[in-house]
Symmetry: C2
Subunit: 221 residues, 2 copies
Amino acid sequence: MGPMEAATKPRRADAERNRTALLAAAIELFAERGLDVSVAEIAKRAGVGQGTAFRHFPTKEKLVLAVVRLRIDEVIAAAAEWEERADGAEALFGFMARMAEVQSSDRALFESAGTAVLADPEVREAHAQLVTVVGRLLKRAQKAGEVRDDVGPLDVLLLIKAVGAAAESLQELEARPWRRYLGLVRDALSTEGAQRLPGRPPTRAQFERLVEAKLAAGENC
Amino acid sequence: MGPMEAATKPRRADAERNRTALLAAAIELFAERGLDVSVAEIAKRAGVGQGTAFRHFPTKEKLVLAVVRLRIDEVIAAAAEWEERADGAEALFGFMARMAEVQSSDRALFESAGTAVLADPEVREAHAQLVTVVGRLLKRAQKAGEVRDDVGPLDVLLLIKAVGAAAESLQELEARPWRRYLGLVRDALSTEGAQRLPGRPPTRAQFERLVEAKLAAGENC
DNA sequence: ACCTGAACACCGTTCAAGT
DNA sequence: ACCTGAACACCGTTCAAGT
């Protein structure tokens, strides 16, 4: 193994196997029954002792965050795809639809979207990447004159979260309830009939400071 | 006491006092530290044994629902006020701003907005009232030609939830972050530049059926 | 009729003992 | 170096004993 792979420290073969088994079990169970499945059950489905689960993920939250990280990577890939496939508003809303769907199909990503997630360094980096690529999609749609100028990439991500929140109550009622609220967001972001917006677009720098302040203040024993 | 007051069954004096003390303590603690404060702590602040808490509210969820019910009553009152004070879009968005603020100041209302809340008969009735009065506000704004015709009162309530979800991450960053996203919703609901929306406005009848289906299926041991 | 605190089940987390 | 299951603390809920 070359020096480039130093990032992922080498693990014993069984440890590596157990880790991936735990992640797979967690993904399955979180998607099936939400975030309140017990770690004991995840460990059982993965075929390991519960002590092993806590060795790999020292807290349940860390396990959730590992799953969230995988989902964000998925979403980043989708954004990159749309960046090549289309342009302007089409690419932006194509991506937003994809992310809304991922969010609806897995509550893990949604429930922990925005707030404490950024405390985890890995998730933080993935989030930064996501903001960057969404920023590119947004800028192109704005340059084309199709999307209003007074919103930023973090607004876009928060709006996807908003769409998921609205659609959540209608989950079992329709196939893709988020389509309706994404339609409203499309009209909201359109340059047509855009009124002056209160406040300024949130920035990643602000987000970072907010997280650091929380980490400093919160004595999460 | 006349036959009209049969709704609220009479309680012993100490029971009545304990019940209100519990509710007051719950309101305080939920607002301060979120829904994860323990019932034991609520009981302690109310100055009663924890057994007493469970006698009045047989489950923690019931206690939360009682608080939610009070908040909904508050919001209904605000809607009625705006109905008298103003007209058209002004009244609708004045109300929406008020509800967004209540939602931001107390996570209890927000976290349990939309889904399982309607299983509780009291909350269900309050919710029905809320939908009715919001429907009136909405209809007037639509008649005035200021708000698009293809949305219903439940859309409005879900959009307020959405605004709260978007603003949540920015809570400590700005004073009233929801104002920004309510601004976007205003543009989305405006007749100006409204594109055809996928799906149909959700109805209360659908909501009721959804809840009944959940109650029938869910064997919440 | 209502109050109380001890007792129970469950879950996240830790750790001594194994390989 | 890693695995394991028993043990601990905490929380929602129940209940026998009190008034």
